[in-house]
Amino acid sequence: MLIRDASKYALQGLVGQPMRSSLTALGIAVGIAAVVLLTSLGEGVHRYVLGEFTQFGTNLIGIAPGKTSTTGFSGAVISNVRPMTIEDALALRRLPRVVAAVPVVQGNAAVKYRQRSRRTYIFGVGAAAPEVWQMRVAQGRFLPDDDPRAARAFVVLGSKVRTELFGRDNPLGQRVRIGSEHYRVLGVMETKGQMLGFDLDDAVFIPAGRALALFNRESLMEIDLLHAEGSLSSEVARRARQLLIDRHGDEDFTIVTQDQMLEVLGSILNILTMAVGALGGISLLVGGVGILTIMTIAVNERKAEIGLLRALGAGRRQILSLFIGEAIVLASLGGLAGLMVGAGGAWLLEKIVPALPTHTSWRYVLLAEGLACLIGLLAGVLPAHHAARLDPIEALRAE
């Protein structure tokens, strides 16, 4: 029998019972719609989070003091953690393939201009920060490449701090007070927006050495390296590790390349997407049981027809594939409807709630439709097997 005839026969069988067929297909449609919608949300969140993390560039390596071992003990437990210094950052900068190194100290302090004051994030950084973090200066310029041990008292404002303190006034060249020291405003950063709920515009940037003094710290909180495009992050990380071990006498720091971070993050988010997809899959199971039920009923109702087909020369295998085919057609039509509803729903959701990122991935769409067909196959096997096993004479007698 030709595939075309078999599918036509299956379709006619389903069209013959339009109400029943569409209700059964609906069960699968709901399941597939749930799978597609949920995985669209999962993929959307995935892309959103990765986007947030890569907006600082992709060739980053972060080094923090203290050793985070796989057993989960933080560096604080190890007694001989040496402070990570600006000199460490300067040494790292001279490594081959390293384009820039930014020492980072971060804290909270009030920034005052005349009578106005705002508590904000203070970032102690080096001159290379905009390049490494892919930020742009909107007005004036960024911190100069001073000797970091004796950097002049300059400050660059985040866009929000600028408007809060200066309103419409030109801040360039003005003096603000941070702690007990005066800083001259050298520039204003472009608006960068939020990253995972963290407002990057509500921050100011001062030289790292001064931030250490301001917060009374000995050690940097982090050193960020930017390595050259096309060089292996793991290789650069290995050199950086060797250098710091030579300087510190011990591995009392943790290096995380962005590649590693994205990889871990990506796999976590993948699991999340799979998990929500599986949740939708449960409703698919229910739809599958619906198909099983309906096909069992159909086989019982159509016994005489099965007997006739046998008399006309259909073998058991043909009967088996006809009924399995019917179950698959039913499931895949339901699946198709579900795909449209799910993908349409995801699209609509993003239009209505733009904060909720969705992304319908072809991979999951094809997977879902494949799953629908598989469910049809599995749900069809048992009733079809029953149909094929019928004694043709008994079947012909049923009416």
């Binding site: 006619q12 005489a304 006309l312 259909a314 043909q318 043709p392 012909l396």
Partner: protein, 226 residues
């Protein structure tokens, strides 16, 4: 053509054995027109089912065109049914959701014959049975006689060598019945071997060979229209 030797068919009903056929010997030549008659439960349908390879004898040999069918696999039997045998039933057995033409086309589709070679054959078969203007009607839109004629068109579309009819007029009024019998006799004149089970003595008289069954045995087998 058809050769039965010492064929037995036994049904186990609970503890009891029911002999539907006992030591049946029957030979039918090509082109014969045979009627099988007998009281209810005498084994007529069982015999016809065995002839049509829908059932297997428990004992004995059934040779069809010289080939021992009892040795055949289920697949081969289906193949023989498809190409050599046409069934006509008392209750027509049309697929209710398919049109007359689609019902007639069914054996061609099951045999995997290409589309472009089918339409003509279906139209021709319907035409021959005077159903050309009913091709697109569904069975519930046809009279009993028309339904049986659609069934005959379906049974003959593969040009089988043998037509097996189990009380083909049992569900029809006299006029439609005569009509259907005339059609079947025409097939016989065209060379098909016809075996027909009937309760109607008048109809039995028309065939050139009458087999009488009783209690699973062939009681009487006489030739020539009386």
């Amino acid at each position: 053509m058809i050769q039965l030797e010492q064929v037995e068919r036994v049904f186990q009903v609970g503890e009891e054995k029911v002999y539907a056929l006992r030591q049946v010997d029957l030979t039918v030549q090509k082109g014969e027109y045979v009627s099988i008659m007998g009281p209810s439960g005498s084994g007529k349908s069982t015999l016809l089912n065995i002839l049509g390879l829908l059932d297997r004898p428990d004992h004995g040999v059934y040779r069809l065109e010289g080939m021992d069918t009892t040795e055949l696999s289920e697949r081969r039997q289906a193949h023989v049914r498809r190409h050599k045998i046409g069934f006509i039933f008392q209750f027509f057995h049309l697929v209710p959701r398919l049109s007359a033409a689609e019902n007639v086309e069914l054996p061609l589709a099951l045999a995997g014959i290409e589309h472009r070679r089918r339409k003509g054959r279906v139209a021709e078969a319907l035409e021959r049975l005077g159903l050309a203007d009913r091709a697109r009607h569904r069975p519930d839109q046809l009279s009993g006689g028309q339904r049986q004629r659609v069934a005959i068109a379906r049974a003959t579309i593969m040009k089988p060598a043998i037509i097996l009819a189990d009380e083909p007029t049992g569900n029809l009024d006299r006029v439609s019945g005569q009509d259907v019998i005339a059609t079947i006799e025409e097939l016989n004149r065209d060379g098909m071997t016809v075996v027909i089970v009937t309760h109607d003595p008048e109809l039995g008289q028309r065939t050139n060979r009458q087999v009488r069954m009783l209690d699973g045995r062939i009681e009487d087998d006489c030739r020539g229209p009386s």
